[in-house]
């Protein structure tokens, strides 16, 4: 009972503080932008812990955050091995190959208006398809190792990246391109000095979408066959054994890896597209 009341009280207090901060003049400050969501997150955790303990929820259904944390700390080496197998070997390698290939092909396609008009609608359509379904086929072709996961990721990130880059390369207007021509700039010069920089916001949009897809692809592919480690394998086998604290610890790793991956790309974007209005605000 004490857990229940305490958790709800903490939740109410946190919401109250957040409303106060958001309503005061401080809401434009940098610290408020961090404190408010952080407090919200902590309040959710406390509420979770309190409800699970107060209502005596079985740990098979939902373990409290503290138990997940204990498990997380205790099985560090296992989690690290899974992380390297899935996120680094599977997702990251596929991400680099897929995005690199899509970027290169987009530049080639860009030279022909005919190809662009054909590829954009098809690319848009394919990007909306449930491509993950191809995972079992690729696992069959490339075996159980990380290579097949990498292949799934390549296929998944390719089309979103391709259409974003092609659209980005069309971003410059006639006046800018004419200016380059009056400078007597050749194709490559205007590509590198005008059109690629102008395309960067789109390219990074594609790169950001691809980060999440890459992890999804790598994890799904593991459900269809993997060595006896890897995040997808671990989640599935531990869920089968009902040790939910381990599943949640692995989900925490996935969440951290996903957010960190996305965050790093966003940081690079900030450095590269510092001139764009959305980054100056």
């Amino acid at each position: 009972m004490i857990w229940l009341v305490g958790a709800v009280a903490f939740w109410a207090l946190a919401v109250l503080v957040n409303v106060k901060i958001a309503g005061s003049a401080a809401h434009k400050q940098r610290w408020a932008r961090i404190v408010v969501p952080a407090l919200f997150g902590i309040a959710v955790m406390v509420l979770w812990e309190g409800l699970v303990r107060g209502l005596n929820v079985s740990p098979i259904i939902l373990p409290p955050p503290s138990a997940i944390w204990e498990r997380f700390v205790a099985s560090g080496p296992v989690l690290w091995k899974d992380f390297v197998q899935t996120a680094v070997k599977g997702a990251l390698s596929g991400y680099l190959i897929g995005c690199g290939a899509a970027f290169g092909i987009a530049i080639l396609v860009d030279r022909s208006g005919f190809l662009q008009r054909g590829l954009l609608p098809i690319g848009n359509f394919v990007a909306a398809l449930p491509i993950v379904g191809i995972a079992p086929i690729l696992v069959k072709w490339y075996g159980f190792g990380w290579e097949s996961k990498s292949a799934v990721v390549v296929v998944m990130v390719f089309f979103p990246m391709l259409i974003n880059t092609v659209m980005g390369l069309r971003e410059t207007d006639t006046m800018q391109r004419d200016l380059m021509r009056t400078y007597a700039a050749g194709y490559w010069q205007s590509l590198f000095k005008l059109r690629l920089p102008a395309a960067m916001p789109f390219v990074f949009n594609g790169l950001k979408i691809a980060t999440t897809l890459a992890l999804i692809g790598a994890i799904v592919a593991e459900y269809f066959g993997s060595p006896i480690y890897g995040m997808g394998f671990r989640i599935q086998s531990e869920a089968g054994r009902l040790s939910m604290d381990m599943v949640w610890a692995e989900i925490a790793v996935a969440a951290l890896a996903g957010s960190a991956f996305y965050g790093i790309v966003t940081l690079i974007e900030k450095g590269v597209t510092f001139w764009h209005p959305s980054q100056r605000g």
Partner: protein
């Protein structure tokens, strides 16, 4: 319509690559078979053989088309082998998930537009939620649902697809509800409109183009979510289950026909939302 010829060109290029790869990938088996029988095969014989192997590594497009035809038109809809039956199971979960996700996205968007504390506290978490690979959570949601006592396979699938599709709708609607500019909002104030009135008569109508654009993304995401939800869970029905069962027991062609069926379903769903978009915006006088 000037895009038709380029699109057809690209499509036929894709088909050509597909046929080429089929010959290349399936010829290993053909050659191995020929060697065992001690026969020399000419090139045209090899190609002919790669085109209709029963357990081809990569089935040729026409094989997939034949399989699709067999499992849709020539089977009874109620049969467990009918792709229409499995497509319906998937579609059902997709629509439930979409309805759930769209409602959550819509409610959150309204809350975020009207309450600054929601924008500051919830919006960052909504963004973070999308960087978490949902499939990591899928097996757990299913175990959880079983433990709680929900036997219906539909529920976990719908939850996963709602998780994937609420975000585009949230982002689109936040943008859409903020689309009216200051002057229009001020005009409502000079009419002495209550905030409810300015919501129903100004904000909501002007968000419609944004709503439909994000619904098109959302429904495609919902379908992806449903299929992801069916893949790792040992589901027996649905297109994802078809892919799974084809992987474990059946010939690979089942996976391919299920994949193409999923693609057709995705296209049909997006086209359907697009149709509603065109009709609605036209009647509202907002068509471009």
């Amino acid at each position: 319509m000037r895009n038709i010829i380029p699109i057809l060109t690209i499509l036929s290029a894709i088909l050509a690559i597909w046929y080429g790869s089929a010959v290349k990938m399936n010829s290993q088996w053909t050659l191995a078979q020929a060697k065992r029988n001690g026969v020399e095969l000419s090139f045209s014989e090899i190609v002919a053989d790669t085109m209709d192997q029963e357990r081809a590594r990569l089935p040729a497009p026409h094989q997939v088309a034949v399989e699709l035809w067999k499992t849709t038109v020539q089977k009874k809809i109620t049969s467990k082998r009918s792709l229409i039956f499995h497509g319906w199971v998937t579609l059902n979960a997709t629509l439930w998930g979409f309805a759930l996700g769209a409602s959550i996205g819509l409610i959150l968007a309204i809350a975020i537009v009207y309450a600054r504390v929601m924008e500051m506290g919830v919006m960052p978490w909504a963004i973070i939620s999308q960087t978490i690979p949902i499939v990591a959570i899928a097996p757990m949601i299913i175990v959880l649902m079983n433990a709680v006592g929900v036997q219906e396979r539909l529920v976990p699938k719908a939850i996963i697809s709602a998780y994937l599709c609420f975000f585009p709708i949230l982002v689109g609607m936040v943008k859409g509800l903020r689309a009216p500019d200051l002057m229009q909002l001020d005009l409502m104030k000079t009419y002495n409109a209550s905030s409810g009135q300015s919501f129903w008569k100004l904000r909501l109508p002007s968000s419609m183009p944004y709503l439909f654009t994000s619904m098109k993304i959302g429904i495609a995401a919902a379908l992806v979510g449903t299929i992801v939800g069916e893949l790792p869970t040992g589901a027996l029905r649905g297109l994802g289950a078809r892919i799974l069962i084809g992987d474990q027991f059946g010939p690979p062609i089942r996976i391919w026909s299920a994949l193409i069926a999923a693609a057709i379903l995705a296209g049909a769903l997006v086209a359907f939302v697009g149709l509603i978009q065109r009709i609605t915006l036209k009647r509202m006088g907002m068509a471009q």
